[in-house]
Symmetry: C2
Subunit: 418 residues, 2 copies
């Protein structure tokens, strides 16, 4: 599919992440300091909350965008999502007669402060990147026992904390936690010394379900995708995770990109999951090409210094798609809700420069990474800014999510002082 041209001229360049083909959904702080729902087009945001106030939007319900999050829109269902997207696409297309009517609702993206695009209802994080699971397993158990026996049969996941999900641009405070190294005789309470990122995509559930759903139904229920950084305290995790999994190590924050790219915008980029060693059970089988060809990268910028590219990989490296994860999530009868967020799991390619976490890039801290500034890193240092970026590259256009950025602030001297 080629670039669709818009009368918003900045949307028509091949590198602009927000062409008419994209139209991702976000929330920004408007001049009245209220949260408004917006749609990205070129270097502008179309303020759909203000359009709704002025009766320029026709939806089956009123006040959908007044809440300043996209949840009420999601609740209207896939047919309404498709209709709204078609209407916007026509109105913003080159040659549309709506240019004069819509221009007053465009806000420059530069300088707009973004907020959480949705209220996250519940958050689940998966572990569905094979190279990542193999690398982490090798570090902890050796390469011969790297993949747990269930891994090739089931999308392994755990429930995270929805309350800890923040939007790109939110500073992250280095956490304290209970730590005990292998040579320590007892645990202590101290700031995390091995703070890390995980490069992931997040799928947003848009349709609620109450009982087991098929992979096709699950895929149909997904509203869109975000970039996701699952900040991870490796030393807290090492001490706490047996036997019930990661808990406080993953509860400081998870950052998502400001823009939700709709499933519709990603359709041209669908691709197959990798070949499988073991056939999946029927209820988890692919129902078509279920992944997306999305280039992903990580950069790290020390305080006041230029960024270094740490890693480049692609979402097509996943072993399980979001549809398969959501289908598995529902097998037990677990009710899933519109607004639930599913992290893909860390995405690592097969080679070293494609690894999606510092744990893997520095091989457990044993192989420091040299930055372009000459400094080295094993894990994140105070003041470092970590940025994830994603791009699906079409015929003369790019689909982007906006940067997924967070800067690490130093730990508090006394975490109980307020």
């Amino acid at each position: 599919m080629p670039l669709k041209k818009s009368w918003v001229a900045s949307a028509n360049t091949p590198d602009c992440p927000f062409p008419l083909n994209n139209l991702p959904y976000g929330v920004f702080l408007a001049t009245d300091d209220e949260r408004h729902c917006g749609v990205a087009i070129g270097d502008q945001i179309l303020d759909v909350t203000r359009m709704e106030e002025d009766s320029l939007i026709d939806l089956p319900e009123d006040y959908v965008f007044m809440t300043g999050v996209w949840n009420d829109f999601m609740d209207l269902g896939p047919q309404v999502w498709a209709g709204f997207r078609a209407t916007l696409t026509a109105a913003l297309a080159e040659g549309s007669d709506q240019q004069a009517a819509l221009t007053p609702y465009l806000v420059p993206m530069a300088g707009a402060k973004m907020a959480m695009p949705i209220d996250v209802i519940e958050y689940t994080d998966f572990y569905a990147g094979r190279n990542h699971a193999f690398n982490v397993g090798s570090l902890f158990r050796g390469p011969e026992n790297a993949l747990p026996p269930n891994w090739l049969h089931i999308p392994i996941g755990y429930n995270g904390r929805a309350s800890s999900v923040v939007v790109s641009g939110t500073d992250i405070r280095r956490p304290w936690g209970q730590l005990k190294g292998p040579n320590d005789d007892k645990p202590r309470f101290a700031p995390c010394a091995r703070f890390d990122i995980e490069l992931e995509m997040g799928a947003i559930v848009g349709v609620s379900s109450d009982g087991p759903i098929t992979v096709q139904e699950a895929d149909d229920n997904i509203f869109g995708y975000v970039l996701l950084n699952d900040w991870s305290a490796r030393d807290i995790q090492a001490w706490e995770y047996q036997p019930l999994g990661p808990f406080q190590a993953k509860a400081t924050a998870t950052t998502i990109s400001p823009w939700i790219v709709t499933k519709a915008a990603l359709e041209p980029f669908r691709c197959d999951t990798p070949e499988r060693e073991f056939e999946l059970l029927d209820h988890l089988k692919d129902c078509g090409p279920m992944l997306y060809d999305i280039d992903l990268d990580i950069t790290l910028a020390p305080e006041g210094k230029p960024a270094t590219a740490l890693s480049r990989t692609n979402y097509n490296q996943m072993y399980y798609s979001a549809g398969q994860q959501l289908a598995h999530h529902s097998t037990s009868g677990c009710p899933m809700n519109a607004g639930d967020l599913l992290g893909s799991g860390t995405i690592s390619g097969p080679t070293k420069p494609e690894r999606g976490s510092l744990l893997e890039l520095s091989w457990g801290g044993k192989e420091p990474i040299t930055l372009d500034t000459g400094e080295t890193r094993t894990f994140i240092e105070d003041g470092d800014t970590l940025t994830l970026n994603g791009a699906a590259r079409g015929d003369g256009y790019t689909i982007g999510f906006g940067d997924c950025v967070g800067k690490l602030l130093p730990a508090l001297e006394d975490p109980y002082q307020r």
Copy 2:
């Protein structure tokens, strides 16, 4: 503290679970089929939603009980909780001049259908009963490795699914899941064959926090307690839980009692946590007697047959209190919200008839339990009704939570048929 007498005569018997000393909070379906907030007193429910409509309740905000859940009331904070409780206690006391005014707002509890008392925001389940952890660890790893090395230093927990929490009386459907026994050469998708209960208490967070809080602050932030049955699919759990913990095995349902007993009502029953082998780190230390002396029991009734008492234990068997769990939960900076539910972990006493799960009672299915009907059980069978009960016993009175009941329905023949 002795029994406080009420003009609701049924509240004044030593065995009534809802004396004036208790006044627990629940939600029931009123005659208009709407959810009303209610307070239990004797064999009656005081309809506070209707009292609010009639301007008989004085709170800092309006329409607090109109939502049909107690969340908005919790948001008013501990001072308002205390004031409301004092007002109700005075109004319902023997000799009060309010009897004529309040009598029209009493609804007989018999036949009242109960609903979820709160919207559960997020749900965390802990593993903080030492005997349970030892028993389960012995079953899986042998008695010498039963307790994981971190267990005596940290309240181990994992995030569960808030969407799966249901109120007492809700039927539970036996789930399907991916299973693989130790002798199977590959996994299969089948109904759970080892469906179990876990006897727990649940603590409801009533005050939100954003950053690490002390044990004292955590204890202050708790609104009240419920009985909690953490339904568990043991065969699904065995295959899925490594390395990230239980997931679909715990996502079918968690049942809570219909009544939230306030922390205030439980004050006279505070007791100490057990002696500790290792001193806890400062940020987790007890700030006074942190547990409660609450007798707990489990009964099982096969379909159409009388119930058998399976187990009797006490909440004082916990190693970590809810305050310590909540404090630990916040260490990483994890935002905690009013409406979060914290499961205590399975409560088992030191002897066999005090075990809080069928997994322990039947020792992994190897020692069937004989019911009073002559039947035997290893795990739950279709049609069985499981009931948890709890009672704090004061001087001439009892504090109860209402039964925490669920009946197991057979698995669907085809889980994808609707």
